[in-house]
């Protein structure tokens, strides 16, 4: 094998190897991203199902707080004597669910934003609803959150936005 042949072979091999590594790394990122999407989607679905069930069966919103860094919503169910509080902290990026007896669990992690808007029972002509900040008038809640994950410290296409409108069915 001559030197020229060796150099051509090395060059060709390097090209193939570089391409392979690039495809492999890109694939890893893609798989990691897809995995993050799956985790976020599953987490959101589970939380949404739990929250929507509890809010839907609630009889009243009893507390509501909205600041730039902390937000919370408390609903009560008079039929089951339960009180549940959802609270979001921007510093930790956690949305937690706390029961009356103090039991706390994490609903969402990596939660960049969580917004709650209250509406009263009366619909507008276009089927939108009138918003309110008066707790006794709240009949419908709109929740919106955004979660994200990082890959090697960077947020790369792994945001997940969920919006839900839930009616308090048992609110008189």
């Amino acid at each position: 094998m001559s030197l020229v042949e060796l150099m051509v072979a090395v060059a060709a091999g390097s090209l193939v190897l570089t391409s392979t590594v690039a495809i492999f790394v890109y694939g890893l990122f893609s798989f990691a991203g897809m995995g993050n999407y799956a985790i976020l989607s599953g987490q959101s679905r589970k939380s949404l199902d739990q929250m929507s069930r509890e809010v839907r069966e609630a009889t009243q919103v009893v507390a509501y707080q909205q600041t730039a860094t902390t937000k919370s919503l408390s609903v009560t169910n008079a039929y089951t004597s339960t009180l549940v509080t959802y609270a979001w902290d921007s510093d930790t990026g956690l949305l937690t669910r706390t029961l009356k007896d103090g039991d706390e669990e994490i609903c969402l992690s990596g939660c960049d934003a969580w917004e709650v808007t209250m509406y009263q029972r009366t619909p507008r002509k276009n089927w939108d609803f009138y918003s309110t900040t008066n707790l006794p008038l709240c009949k419908l809640i709109n929740m919106r959150w955004k979660c994200s994950r990082t890959i090697l410290g960077q947020k790369i296409n792994t945001e997940n936005v969920v919006t839900a409108q839930i009616v308090l069915r048992n609110k008189p």
């Binding site: 798989f31 989607s41 199902d49 839907r56 069966e57 029972r121 009366t122 619909p123 009138y130 048992n170």
Partner: protein, 442 residues
Amino acid sequence: MRCLSPKPAPERASVLLVALALSVILGMTLAGYLSWVRTQNVLVAESQAWNAALAHAEAGIEEGLAQINVSFGTNYLPSAQTNWSGASASGFYVQRTDVFKDKGGYRASIIPDTPGPTIISTGYAVVPLVGRRIVRTVEVRTKPDAAFGYAIAVLQNVTMGGNYVMIDSYDSRDPLHSTSMGTYDPNTRKAGGDVISTDGFVSVGGANIYGHVRTAPWGGISVQQSNGRVGDLEVNWPNRSGIEDGWYANDLNLDFNDVGEPFKAPTASFPAPDANTNYVLGAYDYLITTNFQLLNGATLSASNGTARLWVQGDFRCRQGSAIMIAPGARLEVYTGTLLGPPVSAEINNVNTTGYAENFGIYGLPSTTTMSWSGNNTFNGTIYAPQAIMALKGSGFTSTNDFQGSCVTRALTLQGHFNFHFDESLVKTGPSKGYTVTSWREL
């Protein structure tokens, strides 16, 4: 010159093996990836079906609620027996299959119960790709919805003129909040004189409302700041004017069904008046297809049981006439028709000594105007959602008392006028249908 010798056979085969191995690895990776994507897709589809199943169950609840509120009142059984299947002991059910885009459907049941029927609906949705059914069940309990739950309920505007209109409440079945005869007692009155408008404004002006006011968000309230008042009794809220905090809300979302025909055929002929121009009614259904007029000095009285009088034309009780209800009797007067020409009703002295629940005047859709005027007393209820009503009090210092409740399209109150809502109507009065008391996913 150097000649290359051909490679031996095993070296050529190694390239093929490497290529095959790489193909297998790539193939397995691709297959794993596709399988993983499919799993994710199925999970998302299941989630969507999970949500859809609840929407389908609620569609069944809606159909059940429509079935038990098919018309004014609480007698849903004939309609449910006709339109839904099932035996009366186990309730009635309806099944709707494959009525939604995702091949979803529901099965809803109405179970006779106390105080109102229970509706159970099972909704399902089919998960695409796997064809599996997801099922969710919702139970809704109901109770009768009082036709007279407020002092004044109107669809459009309430206008109170002058400074002499006062609205409050009492409870004819509670001796602590009524006289021994079950009538209004100013010393034990309550602040339950609620006034609501589903689609209009409440102009309080200089009136005093001892109760809450509620309108829709597009409605509103106006109160004369100098002497108009909406709030609790003076002992709890001494302000002489304005609106007490929390006593006005603009979130009302209500509906009032029209009154249907009370009966198909009369069970007795309307009696001729006696020598004293008194018309005495028994526990029968009476029909008058023309106008009816009760002249000055004449009386229309119910002697026993429940009498139902349906006047399809104008119903006029002239000044000096009276409608009397004997103890233990009850009178329901229906005016107008479902689709006929407009008619009006005019009333004066009514049931001056009895309970409000014992007299009711119900305006069918063609009843478009009603009035009550003069120096009279009224103990009863008015339900005429298509009628514009005028309550005209005295122009003098004497006050007229209306005890009971009224539901009309619009209402004007003028002159010296006291309106006392009988809170016992919520418990003992007629119901306009059923309302939901609890919603629960099973």
